[in-house]
Every structure is written in structure tokens, then in C-alpha cells.
């Protein structure tokens, strides 16, 4: 697979002026500003192949948005190189943005005063999309995102979910080969989230669009992304397929046991009791050290077990591990 995005040792430094509190601090800041260099992005390297759906995740302030801004050419890196479809977005921003679709969950690129359809017409002219392609794209988008109910409504009257669908359609009109989605499901109800996830899957499968998704909604990640790039403090801390990431970061399982009646000696040498609530006990164990079957059989020999269940760790546990350790 050919790489559509290649990022090499990307660094972005900011100069911020330190502000001190109080009147004296304010005066001092005015006269002798204390400058400090902060590395927002600190040596990020990754490459993304055509047709991947990559979750780009990390806690707030980890450098996600800064990276996206550099990838789209609206920020210049302090050092390091970026190639999007073989072109540097810094050198030739206009031809790179033609290949990109960008959606911000918190912003809209639609024109507030215009009807949704008019915003699309304007974008058709800005991107110089020929009539036929435009009609085709629009009818597909209208179908999948169910735009027909509100395509003639002014953008300012749309609900958040409708606006988001409109925004995604707007980003896809010029048939970009790469789609950046920055928290596309933020603040949406379950129905709208579902529609958007379906759409992302569909364009990825049918058109081979590469999708880079930043989100805090781990359901998005779980349902969509085959690969995760996790950043923290401006560095890539994990990069790999989601399944192996979970396995690596959260190798433990949970065994939940419900007893028939209280019992005194609950301990097991290879399992840790992490929670106890009445007759319910949560054991945490590492499956490399003891298998679930063995633990169950050993525990059931001494405990009066009523019911039990084994829980797999999910992406949330894995991510929490990452944030904790770095």
C-alpha cells in the first residue's frame, strides 16, 4: 500500500509569554515579558496508507489539533517534514487542500445565512467541481446522510446533528481522497452518531477514502478504526492495530463473581480483588499468568459461587493505561 501521508520527525514549538498574577505581575509582563518555548509537537513520525481509517487520539492538549493543522498546511512546522500525496502542504497549500476534506465538530464551514444547498453550490464554484460530478456526489451524499429534509433550510436554523451532516457533506463534495475528522460526533445524539459512523465506513469502503479521525469518543474509535495512533505530550506513544494495542496495554481480565452467601477467605494468589460490593466480587487477573478457566475452577472449589462472568478490557481501559503511564 502506498503511503498518502508521511510525517517525519515533526516538531512544532510555540513561544508563549509567561503571565504572572496580580497587578505587579501584569506590569512586569508588560515591561519585561518572559518568553518561554513550548514544544506542542515533539518529534512525531508516522505514515498512513491509502484507504486506512486511523484514529488519532490523545488527551486534551496532546498536540492532536496542531498536527492536523500542520497536515493541512495552515501551520508551518518548526522542523520535520510532511508529505500529503507526495506534496508538502506548506509549499503548496492550495493544491493540497483540494485533495482534503476537513470537518471540525466544533466549527462549521457552512455559510450561516445561506440555505444548506446554497452553501453547497458556493463550494461547487470554489472547488470548480464540474456539474456532473457535483450532481453525482450530491445525490449520494443526500441519500446516505439524509439531507433532503433540510437541504433548503438556512444553516443557522439547523440542529447540531443536521449541521454536522451538512458539514460532512460539504467536506466530501469535491471528492477528496483524504478526510480529516476532528471530533465529528461531539454533542450528537445516538442516532446521528450512528448515521455518521455508517457514512464514514461507507466512503472508506466504496471510495477508498483515507480517514483520519481525532475523537474523545471511544465508541467511534472502536467501531471505525483499524489502527490507532496515540499521542501524549507531543509524542507518539502507541501506534498499531487496535486489537494488539488493547492486548498490549491492558493484558488483564476481570472476573466478576457473585456468591450465594458471605464467605471469609476470598483471596487467590494470582488474582487481585479490586472491588467488593455485598456478595459481588471483582477479581483482576493477567491472562498470561493464569487462564480464566483455571481461575474459575480454583475459586469455585472454595467459594459458594452463584454466578460469574469474565470481562474483556475495552479500548477505554487501554487508553486510560496509556495516559496514566506517560
Amino acid at each position: 500500500m502506498e503511503a498518502v501521508i508521511e510525517v517525519n520527525d515533526l516538531v512544532k514549538e510555540y513561544i508563549i509569554t509567561k503571565k504572572e498574577s496580580g497587578l505587579r505581575g501584569a506590569l512586569k509582563g508588560l515591561l519585561f515579558p518572559e518568553k518561554k518555548t513550548v514544544r506542542g509537537v515533539d518529534g512525531i513520525t508516522f505514515s498512513i496508507a491509502q484507504g486506512e481509517i486511523v484514529g488519532y487520539i490523545g488527551p486534551n492538549g496532546a498536540g492532536k489539533s496542531t498536527t492536523i493543522k500542520m497536515l493541512t498546511g495552515i501551520l508551518h512546522p518548526t522542523s520535520g517534514s510532511i508529505k500529503v500525496c507526495g506534496i508538502s502542504p506548506q509549499a503548496d497549500r492550495k493544491s493540497v487542500v483540494r485533495k482534503l476534506g476537513v470537518v471540525f465538530g466544533q466549527r462549521t464551514q457552512l455559510y450561516w445565512d445561506l440555505r444548506l444547498g446554497e452553501s453547497f453550490e458556493l463550494l461547487r464554484r470554489i472547488y470548480q467541481i464540474d456539474k456532473e460530478t457535483y450532481e453525482d456526489n450530491l445525490s449520494i451524499l443526500t441519500d446516505v446522510l439524509k439531507l433532503q429534509e433540510f437541504i433548503h433550510t438556512p444553516v443557522r436554523q439547523l440542529s447540531l446533528g443536521q449541521r454536522m451532516r451538512g458539514d460532512i457533506a460539504a467536506a466530501m463534495l469535491h471528492s477528496p481522497s483524504i478526510l480529516f475528522l476532528d471530533e465529528p460526533t461531539i454533542g450528537l445524539d445516538a442516532d446521528a452518531k450512528h448515521a455518521i459512523r455508517l457514512f464514514i465506513k461507507e466512503i472508506n469502503q466504496k471510495r477508498g477514502v483515507t480517514v483520519i479521525l481525532t475523537t474523545h469518543d471511544l465508541d467511534d474509535v472502536e467501531q471505525l478504526c483499524s489502527r490507532l495512533v496515540v499521542v501524549n505530550h507531543g509524542k507518539v506513544v502507541e501506534d498499531g492495530p487496535m486489537v494488539s494495542l488493547i492486548h498490549k496495554l491492558a493484558p488483564h481480565r476481570l472476573l466478576v463473581v457473585e456468591l450465594q452467601h458471605p464467605f471469609s477467605d476470598l483471596t487467590h494468589p494470582l488474582a487481585e480483588i479490586i472491588k467488593q460490593d455485598g456478595l459481588k466480587i471483582w477479581y483482576k487477573f493477567e491472562k498470561d499468568r493464569i487462564s480464566a478457566a483455571q481461575l474459575i475452577s480454583e475459586l469455585s472449589q472454595k467459594l459458594p459461587i452463584q454466578d460469574l462472568s469474565v470481562k474483556e478490557p475495552n479500548i477505554e481501559d487501554a487508553i486510560r493505561e496509556v495516559y496514566k503511564t506517560t
Binding site: 501551520l75 492550495k94 476537513v102 455559510y111 445561506l114 453550490e121 464554484r125 470554489i126 472547488y127
Partner: protein, 265 residues
């Protein structure tokens, strides 16, 4: 590309025409301003017919009426547009488009201008004609020169507004800069009181500033206070200002853009 600009202009035109309340308010205030100014001139002339600076009361009435109509046509939203877009972070989405930003804002303002011609100038003209008689131009030649001179005036005003708007990229907080600029323009452009009534020194200084070429020049041409010869010379100066401001804006825009891109604003 041109299609895109035209579409923006058209959409602004249509949306502005839809805002009826704004039109009533604007026509109302401008009408009051117009009546007040004209009555002020009447009082200043003391009802007599003596001439000040070779300007008749009729000339001044025409001057004032047209000045107010021009003020409602010269739509320079660009400084506010940039300011709000930066405050709300919306400017980012504009950078994602393969189209020059400032040209988009100009297309938008032009749409506002076209709509103002329809829904503000026509009612103001009708009212002015009812109250003070039709404000005819001094001569046909004057009228024919008035039109291109107005276009140059608008170019100067728009470029000034865009330059002020760019400041927002650097300081984030534009504050009253826009208002200060607007006030300076209003006084020094002769839009309220023609500069011919100002002391000699002010007039001399103002010759070297762009402001008087925004209102006084086209209006002077219209009422015939500036002769054909002088009119052509004044339009030459207007053109020089447009060129200068354009070069200045282009240079500032380039620096602003690279600063924004490099430092992230």
C-alpha cells in the same frame, strides 16, 4: 473562480435584501441625519442668500444628501468580518479553501453594496427629492465623472478597512480601532462638513492624506465645485492612493499570513 465570487456577491445581495428591519432602521437613521444636516446648513446660511466659499445652499444640500447616500452604499464589512472570524476561530475554515480570503470578503461587501443601492439609496433619494427637490448634478459631465470617482473612493475605503482588519491578526483584540478609523474618515473625508470650510492648514495637510479623496472628491465633482480639469487631477490622486494602499495591503497580508501560519496566531 470568478463564478465563486459572483455567487458570493449574489448571495449577499439576496440575504441583505431579505433583512427588512435592518433596511427600515438604516433608512430611518439616515433620513434623520439628512434632515438635521440640511437644516443645520439652512441655519448657518441664516435664510439669506449670501454665498460662502462660492457654495450655494442648494449645492450644500445636494452635497449632504448625496454624502449620506454614499455612506450607506460604501459597505466595508471587511474589518468586522476579519475581526469576528478571528475571535471565533472561524478563520481556520476559510484557510482550508483553495481561494484567496480577502477576495471573498470583497465579493461579500460588493453584494452588500448592490443591495444597499436598491433598498437604501432609492428610498433615501425619494425622500430627499420630496423634502428638498431632486438633487441634480451640476452638469452631465460632472455626473459622468462622479461615477468612476465613486468607484475609486470605494476602493480606497475598502482597502483602509481591510488594513485595519489585518491588525486583528496581530493583536487579537481590535477594540475601538475600527471606530477610531471610521471617525477619522468621517471627519477628514468631508462627508459631514466639506473640508473647504476647514482652516487652510487642515486643508493643506489633508491633501496628503487619502481621506478627502473618499467623499469630498466625488461629491465636489457632482455639485460642480470641482471643475472638469481639477476632477481629472483629483481622480488621478485617487488612483495613486488605490495603488499605494493595494501594494501596502498585499505586503501586509503576505506578512500576516506567514506569521499566522508559522506562529499559529
Amino acid at each position: 473562480m470568478l463564478q465563486a465570487y459572483w455567487y458570493m456577491t449574489k448571495m449577499r445581495l439576496l440575504t441583505s435584501l431579505a433583512y427588512r428591519f435592518e433596511v427600515f432602521a438604516s433608512v430611518g437613521t439616515n433620513l434623520i441625519l439628512m434632515l438635521a444636516s440640511v437644516f443645520l446648513w439652512k441655519a448657518a446660511y441664516g435664510g439669506g442668500t449670501q454665498q460662502i466659499n462660492a457654495l450655494s445652499l442648494q449645492d450644500l444640500t445636494t452635497y449632504t444628501v448625496l454624502s449620506i447616500m454614499l455612506a450607506s452604499v460604501f459597505v466595508c464589512g471587511v474589518q468586522d468580518t476579519i475581526y469576528y472570524k478571528i475571535r471565533e476561530g472561524q478563520i481556520v475554515t476559510d484557510f482550508y479553501r483553495p481561494i484567496p480570503l480577502l477576495a471573498c470578503y470583497l465579493a461579500d461587501d460588493l453584494g452588500g453594496m448592490l443591495s444597499a443601492m436598491i433598498n437604501k439609496v432609492i428610498p433615501l433619494f425619494v425622500f430627499a427629492a420630496l423634502f428638498f427637490g431632486v438633487p441634480w448634478p451640476a452638469s452631465l459631465a460632472g455626473f459622468l465623472l462622479f461615477i468612476p470617482s465613486c468607484l475609486l473612493s470605494y476602493a480606497i475605503l475598502w482597502l483602509l478597512s481591510a488594513l485595519i482588519g489585518l491588525i486583528a491578526f496581530w493583536v487579537m483584540e481590535l477594540g475601538n480601532m475600527g471606530m477610531v478609523k471610521d471617525s477619522i474618515v468621517r471627519v477628514l473625508s468631508g462627508s459631514i462638513v466639506p473640508l473647504w470650510f476647514f482652516p487652510e492648514s487642515v486643508q493643506t495637510v489633508s491633501k496628503f492624506l487619502p481621506f478627502q479623496y473618499t467623499y469630498q472628491t466625488p461629491l465636489g465633482i457632482y455639485i460642480g465645485n470641482i471643475g472638469i480639469q481639477d476632477a481629472l487631477a483629483a481622480m488621478g490622486v485617487q488612483f495613486i492612493w488605490v495603488a499605494l494602499l493595494f501594494i501596502l495591503l498585499a505586503a501586509c497580508w503576505k506578512r500576516t499570513k506567514s506569521k499566522t501560519l508559522i506562529q499559529g496566531g
